[in-house]
């Protein structure tokens, strides 16, 4: 899916609040078709990066390009092709359909196409048929409505800031499934942030690691495999497997017996694990 054409490029972005430097020269590139995971602990600068991308905060220095834009006016135009989830930006007294109709109108989706588009995104986030006002939604439903709003109009770029915050394992798996579907089925380039490494590892293909206001490394899943040279296999007879490896001339350097992850165990127990 990735075709190495950058859709977002940040070059040496600095953000200062008075004398306090929140971003100290962030450079990152997100290519078309990427699922790009932005990793960092709380306060590392992930949200500030998103705020600058979305035009909610002005950088103190550096260059930014969104879908080829280079001036503030062009950035504004390019943002029409960005969908984002950054929290619960919707009216609590409106239903999911009413909220989405509001944003569909603002995004300029023609009136006659709105119903079809709203039905489509509600189906993706599994909120179709829910008629109560958003204030009565559970946290998971609110997150899903936020994502429905983000993907309304099929934007080229999808920005998700901590979309799984506060969700239970099923909710996390559902969001992960939606993100992958948006990327694979609808061709969206996705940038998703989290401080939960395991979650991003399952979702993203490329990663930017942010620490103290700087992207300290950009790596891919392939890089991880290269660096680690570790594969994980499940066998029914461990001794026989080791014997086969030895017979094939493969030397086992290290043997680690791992318990199943809590997530694996949970889903085996209750079923599910993403649709």
């Amino acid at each position: 899916m990735n075709d190495d054409r950058p859709v977002i490029k940040m070059d040496n972005i600095v953000k200062k609040y008075g004398s306090h430097e929140v971003l100290k020269g962030v450079s990152l590139t997100v290519n078309k078709g990427d699922i790009y995971g932005l990793i960092g602990k709380n306060g590392a600068g992930k949200t500030t990066i998103f705020k600058i991308l979305l035009g909610l905060s002005e950088s103190s220095g550096g260059e930014i390009s969104i879908l080829g834009s280079s001036t503030p006016k062009e950035h504004e135009r390019s943002r029409k092709n960005i969908g984002f989830f950054v929290g619960h930006s919707f009216y609590p007294y409106l239903t999911s359909v009413e909220n989405l109709r509001y944003f569909a109108t603002v995004k300029g989706i023609p009136a006659k196409e709105q119903k079809k588009e709203i039905d489509r995104v509600l189906e993706i986030v599994d909120l179709k048929g829910v008629k109560k006002p958003a204030s009565k939604f559970s946290l998971g439903m609110k997150q899903r409505l936020g994502i429905a709003n983000a993907i309304l109009g099929n934007p080229e770029i999808l920005i998700l800031d901590e979309p799984t915050n506060g969700l239970d394992p099923q909710g996390i798996a559902d969001i992960r499934h939606m993100v992958r579907r948006c990327n694979e089925e609808f061709g969206m380039t996705v940038i998703v942030s989290s401080h939960i490494l395991g979650e991003l590892e399952h979702t993203a293909e490329r990663f930017g690691i942010v620490n103290e206001g700087i992207v300290v490394s950009e790596i891919t899943q392939d890089d991880l495999k290269e660096k680690e040279k570790v594969i994980e296999i499940a066998v029914d007879d461990l001794e026989k497997a080791k014997q086969l490896l030895a017979d094939g001339g493969v030397k086992v350097l290290r043997e680690v017996q791992e318990k199943s992850s809590l997530e694996d165990f949970y889903f085996r127990l209750i079923g599910g694990g993403g649709k």
Binding site: L56, E76, Y102
Partner: protein, 240 residues
């Protein structure tokens, strides 16, 4: 920008509060007109002006402020609209247009109900006097819009809905009372220089057939409030 105005207007019509406030304001126009039908024309004119201004204007403007600005600020809708590519200046222009739209709708219906009732009850008012009531209502709308722009400035500057509401109370009620008291005690007329005073003077001119030139400085107040809000908002760091 027009898409935002359309979406917001439809949203406001879906608020229960809109219909509740509208019902009470219209009911009060009927009720008020009903109990004064046997008064003199002058008394009826004064009552009509009092009931379209001051307290009623405050109720309508507070509702409009909460619906157009505070709802959006509370739910980060400003941020959402900017993030999908709407410029901040266009966002403020849309909001100002919504002030004008919703205020006009309220006052059009309130004034129409009142005038219709006067007609039905054969209240002793000439067509010219009925026209003056309509002009007074139009000036009340203008006053409301300027105060709403000032309230938006306060809200954005202090990140506080309460600051916006307090600004409305000050501009629509307290400032007039204070400046009129100052005039009485110290013989210094400052009231005529604030939007409310200028619009009162404009109405007085219109009532005697003189061009209400005071509308020009009143409009300048509106432009100044918009320019200040826009300058502040364009520099404002918005939160996610």
């Amino acid at each position: 920008m027009s898409a935002l105005i359309k979406a917001d207007t439809r949203r406001i019509f879906r608020k229960k509060g809109f219909w509740i406030i509208m019902f009470f304001m219209l009911f009060f126009q009927f009720f008020d007109a009903f109990i004064i039908t046997d008064e003199s024309a002058e008394k009826i004119m004064n009552d009509a002006q009092r009931n379209l201004g001051m307290g009623h204007l405050l109720i309508v403007t507070v509702f409009v402020f909460l619906s157009v600005i505070a709802d959006d600020r509370k739910s980060s809708i400003f941020e959402a609209n900017i993030a999908i590519g709407l410029s901040r200046t266009k966002l403020l222009l849309a909001k100002t247009s919504e002030f004008a739209l919703v205020m006009t709708l309220f006052y059009f219906l309130m004034t129409s109900f009142r005038l219709l009732w006067y007609k039905l009850c054969s209240v002793p008012l000439s067509n010219r006097q009925l026209g003056l009531i309509a002009i007074y209502a139009a000036f009340a709308v203008a006053h409301g819009i300027i105060c709403l722009m000032a309230a938006t400035l306060a809200d954005i500057a202090l990140d506080s809905t309460a600051a916006g509401i307090i600004t409305l109370v000050i501009m629509l009620i307290l400032l007039s009372l204070v400046l009129k008291t100052v005039e009485t005690i110290y013989k210094i007329n400052l009231y005529n220089y604030i939007p409310g005073g200028l619009l009162d003077a404009a109405y007085a001119n219109a009532a005697v057939g003189i061009f209400p030139w005071q509308l020009i400085p009143t409009a300048l107040y509106g432009i100044a409030a918009f320019a200040a809000t826009s300058a502040l908002f364009n520099k404002k760091e918005l939160q996610l």
